[in-house]
């Protein structure tokens, strides 16, 4: 496939952006190896690759956040040096990150011109408002330029960010996973805006894991693997995302492994009745039996995360019934949930999960200090023994049990994090939010194995994931949410990727099928 690596863009004219033989090495790791690509004006290029393939390094180089070790970048054949993100922006290369560069306390128009140097020191409200209205109309957003940004939805904010970059005359717009946090409607809107901008002669690089969207939006797609560009093809030549996946991993996807004993109910499990978490969850009722793995899926904003957080006691506004093995669990109190046998692993490993400056041992025992102490004092022997057992269980190097967690890789950090929740005699319900976020293929298999083991031991598992492969691979039952409600709850045998995708988006076909 590598022979396609330098495939030229469709138009034979002078390319808008050229990346020539760019490399970047971190320590012993070659993050980007002799990457070359070209982008014609008016073209939308998809950038695909697994975690660690070099996508983010390339993006960081293109936006001036990282300086390449070798090679050059040219705009309209003129080599440019990108000193920092602002410098890159002034040369026409701008990025819309998942983390938007907007200030929520400011108004829309104040945000539109935040950091612009072309404004006179004195504010001229009339002129500014005209410019703001003009920009807003170009992205088809009908909001009052004076309204505070915090009143806007995430999707609208993303459009504001795009409008701002357009206002700064960005020639190449890099969208880094822009759709991860958007609803289907909002995604359509963003895509429409992107298509409109491209018609004006701008170009877009679309970085995404969502392969169907890539195939839908892009003219051409470039695939990275292990720091190298392995393919660059017109999307017209790609019939199905399965082909893209093959390019990304270089082999066929292994058939999903199913654990034999899973699905056999051992304990009583959890019963959730009429759970409400305003405004994200309208109504959620579900039984999860002991030993069962239930996969919860839906687009970001569908409420899956909030369901898990509510059951873990982390949503103060949650109301509804929640019993575990027949006993009622109070909502809104994380400590009460833990005592009742609920273990929760947040999707925000660094912010709400691990204690990065503490040792592996400290992290592994953080949730079980009660059972490891007597009269308020820690039983040192028991603590060390438990930590030792857990570190073996999650297969992290036992010699590093005294190291601080910040020195571990993402995959190992995630295993340590899960180790805290798994294998507790007193865990009855395991709640996992995106259990393999930021983890590579090998680490993912290990983590899935750990989750299956927990289920085999009789724990009820409820996990949320936005990745269909993971949902299909792991679940005994798949529950799909949309707009804060359950729209489908099907046994694994009864469902498939196409059906789940349709449910997640509430597409027409599915509704017709349901009728």
């Amino acid at each position: 496939m590598t022979e396609n690596a330098t495939a030229q863009p469709a138009a034979g004219t002078q390319p808008l952006l050229s990346v020539r033989h760019v490399s970047k090495t971190y320590g012993a790791v070659r993050a980007l190896d002799d990457a070359s690509l070209e982008l014609a004006s008016g073209e939308i290029l998809g950038l695909c690759g697994h975690n660690g393939a070099g996508k983010s390094t390339l993006v960081k180089i293109l936006t001036g956040q990282v300086h390449p070790d070798g090679g050059e970048i040219a705009m309209r054949d003129a080599p440019v040096e990108l000193r920092d993100p602002l410098d890159a922006q002034s040369k026409g290369l701008a990025i819309v990150d998942q983390e938007l560069a907007l200030a929520p306390d400011l108004s829309v128009e104040e945000n539109l011109f935040l950091g612009n140097f072309d404004l006179s020191l004195l504010r001229r409200p009339g002129a500014v408002r005209r410019r703001a209205r003009d920009l807003l109309s170009r992205i088809g957003l009908a909001v009052d330029p004076r309204s505070p940004l915090e009143k806007l939805s995430i999707g609208e904010r993303q459009l504001i960010e795009i409008a701002r970059l357009v206002g700064r005359d960005a020639r190449v717009l890099i969208l880094d996973e822009p759709t991860a946090t958007l609803s289907e409607n909002e995604i359509e809107r963003v895509f429409a805006v992107v298509r409109e901008l491209v018609r004006e002669g701008r170009s877009t690089i679309f970085v995404s894991h969502r392969l169907d969207e890539v195939l839908d939006l892009c003219d051409r797609v470039t695939v990275l693997r292990d720091g190298r560009i392995v393919a660059s093809r017109s999307t017209a030549d790609i019939a199905h995302r399965q082909e893209l996946i093959k390019m990304m991993i270089g082999r066929e996807l292994p058939p999903p492994q199913r654990s034999e004993a899973a699905g056999v109910a051992v304990g009583a499990g959890a019963a959730i009745a009429g759970l409400r978490v305003p405004p994200a969850v309208a109504d959620f009722s579900l039984n999860v039996e002991g030993g069962q793995i239930v996969g919860l899926t839906g687009q970001i904003g569908s409420g899956t995360s909030q369901v898990l957080r509510a059951l873990a006691g982390l949503e103060p506004d949650a109301r509804g019934g929640f019993t575990l093995d027949g006993g009622a669990v109070r909502l809104g109190a994380p400590a009460a949930a833990l005592r009742a046998g609920v273990a929760f692993a947040s999707n925000d490993r660094k912010g709400e999960g691990l204690f990065l400056e503490k040792t592996v041992e400290d992290n592994l025992v953080a949730t079980r200090l009660d059972s490891l102490s007597r009269l308020g004092f820690i039983r040192g022997g028991a603590l060390r023994e438990t930590a030792r057992r857990l570190v073996d269980f999650v297969k992290v190097d036992g010699d590093r049990i005294g190291d601080t967690v910040e020195h571990f890789s993402g995959g190992n950090q995630q295993k340590i994090f899960l180790g805290r929740c798994l294998d507790r005699e007193d865990v009855k319900l395991l709640l996992l939010d995106e259990p393999t976020r930021g983890v590579d293929v090998a680490g993912r298999a290990e983590i899935h194995q750990l989750i299956r083991q927990a289920a085999l031991a009789g724990v009820a598992v409820l996990f949320a994931s936005t990745e269909l492969d993971e949902i299909l691979d792991l679940s005994d039952r798949v529950v799909t949410m949309f707009g804060g409600r359950i729209v489908a709850s099907l046994a694994r045998e009864e469902t498939n990727a196409a059906l789940i995708s349709a449910d997640m988006t509430m597409s027409h076909e599915r509704k017709e099928v349901a009728l």
Partner: protein, 334 residues
């Protein structure tokens, strides 16, 4: 372990080999560094300042450490819990001195108990505001300082409180054992007990977890509000105890007694190397910082510098320490 290699390209993470030992080495380095600083300061004092290395002077230094160390240890607890420091240290101590002396006619046991209880309760209330509803520590503690001063003024009618004439029940607090003042022994005893408590108890472990990342601690089922309330309560008790000793020592109590204790306490904790961002540190470090600050003050005093210069130097030292700690951290991260 293959995961290490595979995920490494996403960021410039440090090589994994040997990284784990670095913190231990850093701790050891900091320990030797502290010894070196002490040795240098003692040497400097001995050479440059007459009367520094005399028993009388050592006794004087330790006497001031006895008070400052106590409030520094309390401040250390608040700092480890991730809530910066209290600006109500001096007010709490001054109020404690006044309460203790005023209650002496009812017997020393009652006076002791009520004084300490006042400290604990006042601390716990601030702890609730900080840990329970997330109010800003600095603001809560200056507000509390204002309230404490108001109540003290109201109750005392602005007068200085004196112990009852001829009352000798508290004289033992001012006594000496083996040439050193009794409060020194109390301080060392407190530090030993508290250090062991923090090491061995569930509370101690939780305190450090909450101090490093309060949201993660909450998600891990730790009742973070109670941990913070606990830290503030113990701290409040220690502030009150220091005030009580100070009242007994001065044999008078008024709001003026607070002196520079608030700043000394914070300076000692910061100079002792307790992370102002929380999660790390021990009460021994606070004690070390208190001794260091007391030695610096003593040298300045012996050489005839004014109170102003002493405060100035403390401020500069605090400034330097927090900036150096930050530079150190930045170097470690890059």
């Amino acid at each position: 372990m293959s995961t290490d290699v595979a995920t490494a390209p996403t960021g410039p993470g440090p090589a994994r080999t040997g990284a784990g030992g670095s913190r231990e080495a850093a701790t050891r380095g900091a320990f030797y560094g502290a010894i070196a600083v002490f040795a240098a300061l003692i040497l400097y004092g001995a050479i440059s300042t007459d009367g520094f290395l005399t028993m009388t002077n050592v006794r004087a230094i330790l006497s001031s450490v006895a008070f400052v160390g106590m409030v520094a240890v309390g401040t250390a607890l608040i700092m480890i819990s991730g809530n910066l420091f209290s600006l109500a240290v001096g007010s709490t101590a001054a109020a404690a001195a006044m309460i203790f002396l005023a209650l002496l006619p009812h017997g020393i046991v009652l006076a002791f108990a009520v004084t300490l209880l006042m400290g604990v309760v006042v601390g716990a209330m601030q702890g609730f505001l900080v840990g329970g509803i997330g109010a800003n520590t600095i603001i809560v503690t200056i507000g509390a300082a204002g309230l404490i001063q108001g109540v003290a003024l109201w109750a005392s009618h602005g007068a200085t409180i004196l112990p009852p004439k001829g009352d000798t029940s508290f004289d033992w607090l001012n006594g000496h054992i083996f040439t050193f003042a009794v409060p020194i022994y109390i301080l060392f005893g407190t530090v030993v007990v508290l250090d062991q408590f923090l090491r061995r108890s569930r509370f101690g472990r939780r305190l450090k977890l909450v101090g490093e990342n309060v949201e993660a601690a909450r998600a891990a089922g730790i009742r973070t509000a109670w941990v913070v309330i606990g830290a503030f309560s113990i701290a409040g008790g220690l502030f009150a105890f220091a005030g009580l000793e100070l009242g007994a020592f001065n044999e008078s109590g008024s709001l003026l007694i607070e002196g520079t204790q608030t700043y000394d306490a914070i300076a000692a904790a910061v100079v002792g190397g307790i992370a102002i961002t929380g999660g790390r540190g021990s009460v021994w470090q606070a004690l070390g910082g208190a001794i260091l600050i007391a030695m610096i003050s003593d040298i300045l005093l012996l050489r005839g510098y004014s109170e102003g210069i002493q405060i100035l130097v403390k401020g500069v030292v605090v400034f330097a320490v927090v900036v150096l700690a930050r530079l150190n951290r930045m170097r470690a991260e890059s």
